[in-house]
């Protein structure tokens, strides 16, 4: 079940170089949104909507929060929408993260602009979640305070060491697993990162869910363009990020 409509932008600000943070007032969407789902956002003058992961949901205020990077003319157009303006959104879309029962421990891993969807899922685990996020450098570090206000433990990595520790999130993950194994791992970011996280999780026998990206059109599973390669009981087949995902059991994703 998803809704479409034009909703008021309650807040909008830039939070890093080319990265925007937009809060949309849409109670009917907020009420049914699960962690890890996404929204299809219209960019005026462009034929296709832009899929944007839902960073956070406030069911009391009836808002969803979209944190996105300007990657082209379309996302640039969306980023120009001002507080108080209307934004055309279809949400919530796709299959979100599996949430374990209270008391279970999770490690949430975000790579660059793959970090936003970790806010809502990490919130479900509070102090039982460790969030490992990695960025190119200090100028594009985002959402660390949001994780802290979730009560999460945070480990910040940058490629060049200009913020947090110098290194990859996978190094930090290995370090964490050496100390204690969580009940579940969530990851979103570049394919290479997801591939490595998947391998490490498998080696440690930990269930892992990854959130994938693909060029998308309808967003609801009708047009079949947002294909990704998956495997079940030894058989490979095509799944679709918008409907079968964006969240997949990492064991079922075929990484080239």
């Amino acid at each position: 079940m998803y809704k479409q409509g034009k909703f008021i932008i309650a807040e909008k600000k830039a939070i890093a170089k080319g990265i925007f943070d937009m809060t949309v007032l849409c109670p009917e969407i907020a009420a049914i949104t699960q962690p890890g789902q996404f929204a299809q956002v219209a960019a005026e003058g462009f034929f296709l909507r832009r899929p944007i992961s839902i960073c956070e949901v406030d069911k009391n205020k009836g808002t969803i929060r979209l944190v996105f990077e300007v990657r082209g003319h379309g996302t640039d157009k969306i980023s120009q929408l001002a507080k108080g303006a209307l934004v055309d959104v279809i949400a919530p879309l796709g299959k979100g993260f599996t949430v374990l029962e209270k008391g279970k421990k999770a490690i949430c891993i975000g790579g660059g602009i793959g970090t936003p969807p970790m806010v809502e899922i990490a919130k479900q685990y509070g102090e039982n979640a460790t969030v490992i996020s990695g960025f190119r450098n200090a100028s594009v570090v985002i959402l660390q305070d949001d994780f802290k206000s979730n009560g999460n433990r945070t480990i910040l990595c940058t490629d060049d060491g200009t913020a947090g520790i110098k290194g990859f999130v996978t190094d930090a993950l290995a370090g964490e697993l050496a100390k204690e194994k969580p009940d579940i791992i969530y990851a979103c970011g570049p394919m290479m990162m997801l591939k490595n996280v998947t391998r490490i999780a498998a080696e440690n026998g930990i269930y892992c869910e990854v959130s994938l990206e693909q060029r998308m059109a309808c967003g609801v599973g009708a047009c079949l363009v947002c294909v990704c390669r998956t495997v079940k009981n030894g058989e490979e087949f095509n799944s679709h990020v918008c409907k079968d995902g964006p969240v997949f059991d990492s064991k079922e994703v075929v990484f080239e």
């Binding site: 060029r215 047009c223 294909v227």
Partner: protein, 267 residues
Amino acid sequence: MNRLSIDFCGVNFKNPVIPASGTFGYGREYEQFYPLSRLGGISVKGTTLNRREGNPGPRVAETPSGMLNSVGLQNGGVKKFLEYEMPNLVTKGTRIIANIAGATVEECAELASMLEGSAVDLIELNISCPNVKAGGAAFGTDCTIAGQVTRAVKDATSKPLMVKLSPNVTSITDIAKSVEANGADAVSLINTLLGMRIDIKTGRPILKNNVGGLSGPAVFPVAVRMVWQVSNAVNIPVMGMGGVATWEDAVEIMMAGASAVQDHRRT
């Protein structure tokens, strides 16, 4: 009485607007938006003899006022369509147009014959796909082959047959006349225009398949022109499609000569 209802080559549609094949899945995805019973009919996604995985991704590229796609006819095959989709579709109270595509003339005929017992109201034959035995050239780009496949399918079915024409030809009226002469009860047009986009950051085509089909408002003027040419060249009804996004577009393409319209739902 319903003033919107039409008779299209013997099939009664409660209204002339039908979501285009490939844009609407089997209706399941949009049911909450558009109760299928309100639609004139539904042209379900392309069905082949055997299950097809389709092309690797990326399968889509945005273009000015349109998009390219190269899904590659991914579908579960005709058996799954009959066993899994049809039982659901028949309960929806709308006309069912089965869109079929084969790799050979024989395969197209076999597909049509397998639909004989079903509740399918109208068969739409896609001739824009490659004819394996003719070195991969599309059936729809050669008058003789287009006529042959039409005749073979017509002989294999008792259902009305609509042939979906490719716009990537020098004379679409010649193709239309050939399929009419070979038993087509109607034609639908236009299928997508062949196009390409390149990612200037990588220098590589955006689509893994390099080229794909262009659809959307960008192609609408070409669709209107071809519907106008074809409806003036044949005596069978024309179902117009290609970038039809608004009610004004539907009116315009019907003014060009279409008796019914397949539109491209925008969500």
